[in-house]
Each structure stands twice: as C-alpha cells, then as structure tokens.
Subunit: 332 residues, 2 copies
Amino acid sequence: MQDIARLAGVSVSTVSRALAGSHLVARGKREEIVRLAAERGYVVNTTARNLRLKRSETLSVAIPLGQGTGQSLTDPFFVRMIGHVADEITQRGYGMYLQKVLPPTESWLERLIDAGRADGIIVIGQNIEHAALQEAAAYRPLVVWGGHEPGQRYCTVGSDNVAGATAAVEHLLATGRRAIVFLGDTRVPEIRLRYEGYRCALESAPQGSAGARLLATPLAADAGYEALRALMREGAALDAVFGATDLVAIGALRALADAGRRVPGDVAVVGFDDIALAAHTTPPLTTVRQDFARGARTLVDLLLRRIAGEDTPSAVLQAELIVRDSSLVRGA
Amino acid sequence: MQDIARLAGVSVSTVSRALAGSHLVARGKREEIVRLAAERGYVVNTTARNLRLKRSETLSVAIPLGQGTGQSLTDPFFVRMIGHVADEITQRGYGMYLQKVLPPTESWLERLIDAGRADGIIVIGQNIEHAALQEAAAYRPLVVWGGHEPGQRYCTVGSDNVAGATAAVEHLLATGRRAIVFLGDTRVPEIRLRYEGYRCALESAPQGSAGARLLATPLAADAGYEALRALMREGAALDAVFGATDLVAIGALRALADAGRRVPGDVAVVGFDDIALAAHTTPPLTTVRQDFARGARTLVDLLLRRIAGEDTPSAVLQAELIVRDSSLVRGA
DNA sequence: TTGAAAGCGCTACCAT
DNA sequence: ATGGTAGCGCTTTCAA
C-alpha cells in the first residue's frame, strides 16, 4: 500500500480510502488509484485488515466426526451440506474456513471461537458432541445443524426428523409391510429422533405387525450391508428396511440383492436424506428428503444474525417423503 | 495476552514465549502461565499472529466450477477430494480455507494469492480455467489437481488418465465388446485425456469393431442418463458404455435399465473414479480407481515444498482398473 | 479533501 | 531467564 501511495503521490490513508471506494476521495484520484492497484496486481492484505477491524468476514464450518459412528468427511451427506453452505457463505461475500474435528480434541470449540479466525461458527452434525455444544451455548455466534431436543441450549437448524421418519414408516405400513427393521446409530441425536418417529408410527401399526426392531450400525454403506447380511443369516423375518440415512439404505439394497431377496417384491427399502444418488440406485430409493439448500441458507442466516447480536431461535425444516420404486406396493 | 501477563506477574514477551512452549522460560513459570491461560479460556489471536509472522498456516483450496460442465460442489468426486485434502491439511496442523470459484470472477487467482489469507493454493480441477492457471504459473505456491498436458507451466497432481482409460477400453475389447460409446465432456482437460486413452485403445481394436463414438454430456448422473436415452432412441448400436466419470456411468446404468437393456448381458458399463457408491450400484460398477488419498497427500506435500521455496515437478499417479459385475464377460 | 499518527495483538530482536 | 520495544499492514480518528 505504501508503494501504491508513493506511485500515486498521495498518502496511504488516501489509498486505503480510495480502495474502499470512499467518497471522501476525489473521484478522479480514486479511479487513478484503483487503476494503479489493479495494474500492479496489488490486493489489500486480509490479515492486517482483519486485525485492524477485529472481524474476519469468515465463517468457520466445523465437522465433528464422532468415534465409531462410521461417518467420514466423504459421506455424501456432509459433502452435500458443505457444498450448499459454501454456496451461501460465498454468496454473502464471506470466506469459509473448514475444520474437521476429530473426537479426542479437547475444548476445540473454545479454541475455534477465540482464535479470532472467524466471526462465527457453523457446526454440522451433533455427532456425540452434544455435551461440548451445550457448554459452548453461552458463546453466541454458533449455529448447529442437527436435531432439536428439549433442554438444548444451543441454536440448531435441522429437518423434522421425527415427522419425516413417521411419514416413511406410515407409508410402509400403508403398503402392507409388517416387519420393518430400523438400521442406524441412535447415539447420534438426529438418528435418535428418526428412530423415535419410527417407533411412534409403529405404535399405531395394524394387528399382526412386528414390533420395533433396531439394528445398530455405523452410518456407512458398507456397515449397512454387513449389518443386514448378518441379520438375514440369523434368519430374521423382515419385509421392510428403514435406513437411518440413504447410505445405510443403499448398503441394505445391495445386501438384499446379494441374498436374492427382491426389492420391492420381497422387501421394501426406505432411506433418509435424498442424496443425489438415491434416484439412481436399482431400484430407485424411496427416501425422506432433507432440503439441504434451505437448511444451508437458514444456517448462514441465523449465524449472521447472531453475529449481529440477535438471539435467534432454532429452526425446524419440513422433510418430505419421496416415494420411488424401492417401496412400491408389495407385488406391484 | 496483556491480562495473562498481569495475572502471572510477568511481561507479555514471557507469556508469548511460554505459550509457544519455548524453553527460554523457566519450566515452573511456563506451566503456571499455560495453566492460567487455559483457566481463563485465553487463546492466542491467530490474526495478529499471522500478521506478525507473515504466514497463515492455512492453505486455500479453490474449486473452479466451469460453465456448463454440469459439475457442482456436491459432485462426489469433489467431495471425496475435499475430504481427503482436508484430512491431509489438518494432519499437518494447517487450516483450510475453502473457496468456490464461479466462472465470471476475474483474476480470482491473483486475488486469492495476494490477500495473504493463505500460504499456498490448491486448485481442484482445471475445468475450463486452464488459461488462468497458465498465467498464474509464475506464482509458485500453487498446485493443481488435474491432467498434465504438454506445454503446461503449472504444477499438477493427477491420475494417469490416458493409461487408465486405455486399460478400461482394452478390458471391454478383451471381453468381446465391439461398439463402445464414450460419455463425457472433453472440454475438461482430464476428460480429454481419458477420451484420448479410449481412442488409443480402439486403434488396436479387432476387426469388426465400431470406431470411436463420443457422446458429449455434462458430468452429472442426470445428464448421463438423458444423453444415453437419447442415443438409444436414435437406435444406435452399442454393447458397451465408457462413462468419463462414475456419476455419468451411473446415469447410464439407469438409462439402460429403463430401456430394458441388461447389464452386463446386453451392454457393459465402465466408469472412472471409483467413488464409494460404485461398489453399491446394481450391478456393481467396473471402474478406473483414482487413488484420492494418495493424490491428496501428494497435493499437500508438493504445495508445502513449494511454499518452502522448492520447484517441484508435476506428479502422475497410477490409476487401477477395478473389474466388477457391470462388465462381466458377455453372457456370463 | 487530505495527511499524520495511533493502535489492532502478536513475536522476536536486543538488552540486561 | 526475562523485559522493553519495534513493527507486521491496515483503518480511522483527529487536525489541517
């Protein structure tokens, strides 16, 4: 900036103002300075600027990967969410600092918060870290994607997991399914809520239906595959599978195919998320769609409002059942 | 830091040193200071630190999304790559600044580089931006994931697209396929290289084989689906499809299923990438595996070496053909 | 409308 | 082993 000032024959103050588009600088001079900077490839140093302004125009996105839940950063759900959040953040002229948090790290939230790298934090997925989040609740510029539970002190944005799961299971019951297995890891709050919706729907099940059956499995396709194979080897009766995520459901699809069970003829399969590939499985997967784009927009909106000092409530987004071939009426 | 110094009854210099773990500070005093900081939730301000040190311990990851190539940040390929790169960066104690670059942005590379936010830049995918990259070649701390082409001045890391594609097509020919269609967008350098490998293999095809047939399509499942459907409606003869990416191949799988063509009985399908879901399609997809983990490691390695002042050459990684059911021997 | 100068929070040099 | 202090590059108040 010194250089530009010297070249333009003005002070650094004037250059700073000109580059910020201030009208305090004479129009001609301003344009001259801007031209000069562009020519010389000068760009304002963000670090110095941030230090001076005490804000970074950057939002931190943190992804806690719980121990053994099997999720990884490459999980299509995270990827999808990261993509949409990146869109939203970029659109508002903010930068995005991506942080992957592995479980053993202690007080990661505090560190992230106070280091001054970002103006606020978006945490995607509560994933076991519920307690840490509760503690950080006092810190305002924080919004979490996940399930909203009573007694929760931090601000969340998430789909209506209970209602979504209930709709899925009611659909299965309505199409004649009677033995519906739930595949997932209920240690994750969102999954627990989905399981709750599942149980809830089963309570009003017709006579002759089997009760709730929870098959615990990490949230990955391989895990879903293995878990369901094991269950079938045991000879358990089932005519429907509700995968807690599409990934798990896709694993289930393959396990069924390998075992010679026809989908949807013998067994119906339903997932949750509606990731891009759900429409392209064989058969295409019935699933509960989460509105990721809307979710991302809401996350960023709420966070920016919190940064501005507002105290925002949690938001629950509607989730929509998308019926595809994997749960067609039995025998259809 | 002032506060901590006052509390500990020492100078800020000492606090700074203690927090950095310097052995110049008496052991007892050091521990006392660290304890005090932890207690009061004090964390060193990264921005000030970076300004002073003139480095940010942060790497920028930029993803240029070309016009109309149909790729989006939610493409499993990007997601996978981002995940692995995030892993590598995190592991080395660096932060990751994620940047999505939309085409109209001008001189985005320069801005990114000079703003001082990051010590170096990883660009994932050349995607139409080849020219801009060539210009930025002078800027050293820059590594690009993509194809390596003659005359290229910037440092790339990428799979051996030509060899990978050749292996895939040779496999198809060896198993009796004679009319192999290539599905993809050859404006993207990597895809152009794959197409080259495809043509190369076809040149040594047995008598009676059809020549190269390029079906241009954006790199997304829907696009692959539509493109292949259109081709089949035209009544074109084909007994194999080579999708430039797994996503396109998955679209092709579904188009074939919808049209009543059996895979691999009537038509073989091969993809490229080996994304997680390739093993879970019906039938499981034969594909050319890119070693993403290794690629990410190499990207970060080379970038850090460039930051240290070294001039590194481009790296080409081997790509491995993974044969699954979608290309089993005809009639098998 | 412009310039001088203070200071954001930190590290590292130079003294002691 | 510890402290004083300059200065990283910028914005903004205050004075002119």
